[in-house]
Amino acid sequence: MRTLALFICLLLGTGVAHAGSTDEQDFDLISRGRYLTVLGDCAACHTARGGQPFGGGRPIETPFGTMLSANITPDYATGIGAWSDEDFINTLQKGRGRFGQHIYPAMPYTYYRHVSRDDAKAIRAYLATVPAVGNSVETNQLPFPFSIRASLGAWNLLFFSKGAFQPDLGRSADWNRGAYLVTGLGHCGMCHTPKNMLGADDTEKALQGYKLQGWFAPNITNDARRGLGSWTVDDIAAYLAAGHNRFAAASGPMAEEVSVSSSNMSHDDLRAIATYLKSVPGQGHEHDAPIASTEPAMRTGAAIYADACSACHTPDGAGVPGLFPTLNGGASMQSEDPTSVIRVILRGARSVATAGAPTGPAMPSFAWQMNDAQVAAVATFVRNAWGNAAPIVTPADVKEARRHLARRP
């Protein structure tokens, strides 16, 4: 189940024919549109597991309940075949359905508002060429009171600023392209930006990391400790292209993002994204001093690490490039929130396999071998050894994670 921070649009599937106006011979427009759907990772939500491309019906987990993604194929009755281009652009940029109704911001219109009209039309043009799929989806599966759409008007007033992307003329073209992609089509902040109580982005803390879907999507600002500070532009681009670089491996939702979206992006766009991310400043943080190695949890964790982890991640945490992630340094180890570290120790993880990095190595599960205190100790150790510094992980954290993860597929 693909989870996003918030809701998905409801696209009522019936109506009068009012089709888009694109000339289906416009090869350039259509192929540009196809690439833009890659940039926007549309398939990640709108293609169900084992389903037809863009046929919708994929469950989207939100903090308020589960929704289903809409059918965005050109099917007249159940897709968007009956829509005008203007309907489509309104949905993308304003969060309004075909009849003006509010749609849930699980559909990232708060990001897509930055998508230019030209790009929106190109996406529409491409979607008009994919095979029509008859699949009627009732997207709104939310429980009361979240099922009431009217509240979205107020939500938009509070949290949705309209307006197209404004380039910063003082910055390079690369940076502007990156900003357009990260804050627009790429909607990186949907996962990586913290949310407030009502599920809206905490824009003060853009891209500083957020817990969702049983993972912690790490800080991807240029923060030296918790973010991408130790990665070069090339490291970031390589990671997005292949799912692996000399430090890290993508698994979980990021594996899917790499697989469906960023591995198919152009090298220039990946470098642009990286250039922009490297410009987003980190923020000062607590816990900058490591937990002392004499602490009981650190001593126990050091023993467990030497016995159970070093054969892959190496005794000094350096790992093996492309195969075993680096643990000494980097965002995924030192996030304030230890959710992902605990998760991969307990459940194991398969990293993404791509054409550029086809190995797809996996981390085995240790849930059977280590009790809560042992997982907590080794997690605390890797987060505070070799110059790392991050808050302690307690046995209670692990116990809670076990309980939570047991309910996940």
């Binding site: 009981p296 023993a303 459940r347 085995p364 059977w368 009790n371």
Partner: protein, 249 residues
């Protein structure tokens, strides 16, 4: 220790079930795991061994268990530094093994006919290890009762040693499998119990590994391949960890 890991069959995105498209005589579709698209994976995957705790015998009767404890403690006697076979858990180990696939010969080819051959052709008996222990322990007990008027556990260590010598040189009259055959079986299983990972009930406290200097289930000696003729410093590690994993003082 939670036990979440038993192999969960054929899940994950890359493994699906094939359902045939034709008619099925018995109405059930045939199935096969198909691997295609990506490497199969799923959370908690793996098939780790189940830990064995102390407790009642699974296979032996109380009397059989006492006999085997006495025997393994003479085969591997206790000394000042290292426990004997009994305290190392060898009898528990053998008991649990006999209660499992080994005891039933479930992985061996057990189709008839069973015919005697040459030694080079290997064992050809329909008897499983569980059968052999049951028969030989009964025969040994019968011998002890007849010769000494009491069971083997009640005999002195010297008398027990004499009996084992009788098994070893095949001089002890035994019903069923030969004395020597039982000696070989028991000695082999006792050594397995002494040296196998403690997760199987023997080698308690990794005593046998400590005795010889084997560091156990360690997986990384990169720091030691170049250090020649030096004693390896770290204590042994078992599949279930080691004391330092829990020492939080």
């Amino acid at each position: 220790m939670g036990r979440l890991g038993r192999r969960k069959l054929l899940a994950g995105t890359a493994v699906s079930l094939i359902f045939g498209t034709g008619c099925w005589l018995d109405g059930t579709p045939a199935r096969a795991a198909i691997v295609q698209g990506s490497l199969p994976w799923q959370p908690y995957a793996g098939d780790p061994p189940a830990g064995i705790g102390p407790g009642q015998w699974h296979f032996f009767s109380a009397e059989e268990g006492a006999m085997v404890e006495a025997l393994v403690d003479r085969l591997i006697p206790p000394d000042a530094d290292t426990p004997g076979g009994k305290d190392a858990g060898c009898a528990v180990f053998i008991d649990r093994q006999l209660a499992g696939p080994y005891g039933r010969s479930s992985r061996s080819y057990m189709r008839p006919p069973f015919r005697d051959g040459t030694e080079s052709q290997g064992p050809q008996s329909p008897l499983t290890p569980a059968d052999r222990y049951r028969m030989s322990l009964a025969a040994l007990d019968a011998h002890c009762q007849a010769a000494f008027g009491r069971g083997l556990p009640a005999l002195s260590p010297d008398a027990q040693d004499k009996l084992i010598h009788g098994l070893e040189n095949n001089s002890l009259p035994m019903q069923g499998p030969s004395a020597r055959a039982f000696f070989e079986l028991l000695l082999k299983d006792t050594r397995y119990g002494f040296f196998a990972d403690p997760i199987y009930g023997g080698n308690r406290g990794m005593a046998a590994w400590r005795m010889i200097g084997f560091p156990g289930a360690r997986y990384d000696y990169r720091d030691w391949i170049d250090r020649h003729n030096e004693r390896y410093p770290l204590p042994p590690l078992g599949i279930a960890g080691r004391p330092a994993w829990s020492d939080r003082e």
